[in-house]
Subunit: 477 residues, 2 copies
């Protein structure tokens, strides 16, 4: 038992030190590792397989809405980055600059893309001529670079993987529709696939994207009560189109500016999966996204017929992503490892089970055991995976709701933020001053103005003037 104990002890408990727990899980579940370039990460097979599943599911949903994938260059000439004023102010301080190509100094330095609005705009300006060329609904899967000072695996790294959609439309209405549509794609994906409930809403002007007219966001609550922005969708209006001269000839031959959007989700979402579902035994993966959904662990595998039966179960479960752990480790060690990696269902099969034509199914999410007949194992595992997926969303939603508070005056607000980690719903007058003050005093930021507005009181929680919006506030990653 010494070795099993060691494996579990290898991770700090959540209650003791959540940040350390996170780092331990990332490391022990072998999701990623540090790289020789500070602030960058090596995404290991277990982490990358998660990203591949996320990509597959998201990409399918994108394409169902008419999205086409493309690839833009990774470099942006300095002059191009500077074309849109707000945008360059937002990103220039944190880009990596290329100054030399081979042995020669470049005439104009280039940055590695921190995001690709400028590249898409430059392309659209050349590619869009007539209303027949619209809409353009393009997306790319790539990596981007932001030279952050403080970094954490998945949550904030100098290079990260993401997708960025960039669209151009004939009308403002169509652009707004696409902005909201993609936010809903993200939200539905989080809830249906990742079992992560999210609040859908709009960012305040202070928190919106550099160059956007409006930014929409989905906000999730982590186990420690901190918020994580999990996906964003921006409506640019015609601001970029004017800066980059992206015009089209309308049906009546008049020249009009296009209306644009962009939207992105990144490997950051893997941090959310870890922090929403994980526990003191490690990762807990929703079945729909788990690279391995079922791990078959043979007990007394050297006894005749045990391994054979284990592989027979694997074959019976071929409709799922299933593996057999036939390594020479002890069953206890294998249990711990399978738990650490978050595999949704473990199947235990030993000589006694075989004698009774049965196997033991163990749920990763709540440790429940279920004895099933081998004749029904595929059916039962299918049901169980479906149930786990549902229960995980339900549990995460219950946790989020139990950690969502309301405050109508500043004292209660401050006290809630301080003592009860979670979301705090409160009314806001709409001024930047109150937003700044709330952040300064409490460390909480406005997460979003939810689409589902409520009137908690008539006045701003901070200044007492008439309220304009209800806002979700919280400390955030």
């Amino acid at each position: 038992m010494a070795s099993e104990k060691k494996l579990v002890e290898a991770i700090t408990s959540m209650g003791e030190d959540f940040a350390q727990w996170y780092t331990d899980v990332v490391k022990k579940a072998e999701l990623c590792d540090y790289a020789s370039v500070k602030g960058c990460m090596v995404i290991k097979p277990a982490g990358y397989a998660l990203w591949e599943n996320i990509q597959r599911e998201l990409d399918k949903r994108f394409k169902d809405t008419g999205v086409e994938n493309v690839y833009m260059p990774m470099f942006i000439p300095e002059g191009l980055l500077q074309k849109e004023k707000d945008h360059v102010e937002g990103f220039a301080p944190e880009v990596a600059w290329v100054t030399h190509g081979g042995l020669e100094e470049l005439q104009e330095r280039m940055c590695v893309r921190p995001t690709s609005e400028t590249l898409f705009c430059d392309f659209y300006a050349r590619d869009i001529h007539s209303y027949r060329d619209l809409p353009k609904v393009y997306n790319q899967w790539c990596s981007v670079v932001r030279w952050e000072k403080t970094t954490r695996p998945f949550l904030r790294s100098r290079e990260f993987l993401w997708q960025e959609g960039h669209t151009a439309h004939a009308t403002a209405e169509e652009a707004q529709e696409r902005t909201e549509q993609m936010l809903n794609v993200y939200a539905d994906f989080c809830e249906e696939v990742l079992a992560i409930p999210v609040i859908r809403g709009q960012k305040t002007d202070k928190e919106k994207f550099a160059g956007a007219e409006a930014t929409y966001t989905i906000e999730a609550l982590m186990h420690d009560g901190k918020a994580l922005q999990s996906g964003t969708s921006h409506n640019f209006g015609d601001g970029f189109a004017k800066a980059f001269e992206i015009q089209y000839a309308a049906k009546d031959n008049s020249l009009k500016y296009v209306h644009q959007t962009s939207w992105g989700m990144s490997t950051r979402i893997i941090g959310a999966i870890i922090m929403v579902h994980g526990d003191d035994s490690g990762l807990v993966l929703p079945p729909m996204i788990a690279p391995t959904q079922v791990m078959v662990v043979p007990i007394q595998q050297k006894k005749e017929g045990v391994l054979e039966k284990a592989f027979g179960i694997r074959d019976a479960l071929s409709g799922f992503r299933v593996k057999v752990d036939d390594s020479d480790k002890s069953p206890g060690w294998k249990f711990s490892e399978s738990e650490m990696r978050g595999i949704p269902v473990r199947v235990e099969i030993g000589p006694k089970d075989i004698a009774q034509n049965q196997a033991v199914l163990v749920r990763r999410d709540n440790h429940e055991k279920l004895v099933v007949s081998l004749d029904q194992i595929a059916e039962k595992v299918g049901e169980l995976l479906g149930q786990i997926q549902k229960d995980m969303l339900k549990r995460a939603r219950a946790h989020r709701d139990a950690h969502t508070y309301e405050a109508v005056d500043f004292e209660a607000f401050t006290k809630t933020v301080e003592e009860k980690p979670g979301f705090v719903k409160a009314m806001w007058c709409g001024s930047r001053e109150c937003e700044d003050k709330i952040k300064e005093v409490t460390g909480a930021t406005s997460r979003c103005m939810p689409f589902a507005q409520e009137e908690l009181s008539k006045t701003c929680v901070c200044c007492g003037k008439p309220a304009a919006k209800m806002v979700y506030w919280g400390r955030a990653y």
Copy 2:
């Protein structure tokens, strides 16, 4: 008819100017476009969809051999790049250098990866401890940068997309086996999926990868008789392991160096698809890789029932990648466009066809027409796509064989290279001097020493000394 003529005239004929034909096809089939950064490209939806299909097919084949995907950072610190002597000499002259992160100058500059051997080695040195950690069979899909002076879409660009596999093994034998295995994966993929026949063989020392002990290659012949290196697989022996100190404890507890391989295929292969199969009407895509396999073109689409029937055919063909062109262009224009884009089968359906419960199928590869009953259309289209795939490989193989020559003396060799574009098989003594001379005099390079060796004569085609190997020679992209 004026407009149809214009579309076809938009591309130069192959016979007139092959290079211009290539550029025209890339542009008119909307595969890619130039970017604002010189030498980089924008891969447009039609080009990227091809790459996605290539990725899906290759990735499946990789995983069937036990490959796991990962992601390494895009930056290599200068010190890391310099660890293996031959490798840095090969790549340092053509890398892009990052010198600043945000507003600060970096202490050590970094290059954008031209290839990732050094990053994988750095990681393996930290991650591999015991024989239990071996083999490592990792791959990544990413973009790389090589600051080339002369560039051409897909064939040579400053940034390109590729996959790079990097493996570490306990023994030299296992590394050699993996090197050959992956070369065969590439070769089978080219022949079975892309309908491109390839010569499998080993590169000479002169042409091998910087830092490799041995490089294996697949070489394809383009329509103009020039060769294109289409995929490579390298055996590094323990050279990188010694430079990076990648050691493992063997079962007997002795410390041993690992043996490594790497292998890659890039978006360059899209250039091969264009130049092997294309014709004067544009692109010709093998059905297995075509983003759209069937285009349904309604004739007199404004007549009652025509569009309805066209969409009915689409539904009947839902097992294929099928589209209906219901735009307001003329049928002739639609035919030309569908040909330009290389769509394997066109279905024509008009009022007369409907009256006879039939449709006309037109093959892109040889323009043959086939009238089929609507009751059997799915079955007939399936058969036709299979036949086209087979015929394209057969045709490409016949072209390659008809343009493969032999030479046993230098005069004949020189004359053949000059007058008959294609591969020339000739014996070689093995010396660098002869290889250099052949290139200087004829412009042909050694493409490979094929696995299937023949003895054409006893002496080197260049110096007349005893021959060591038969080599495929040719001018190349």
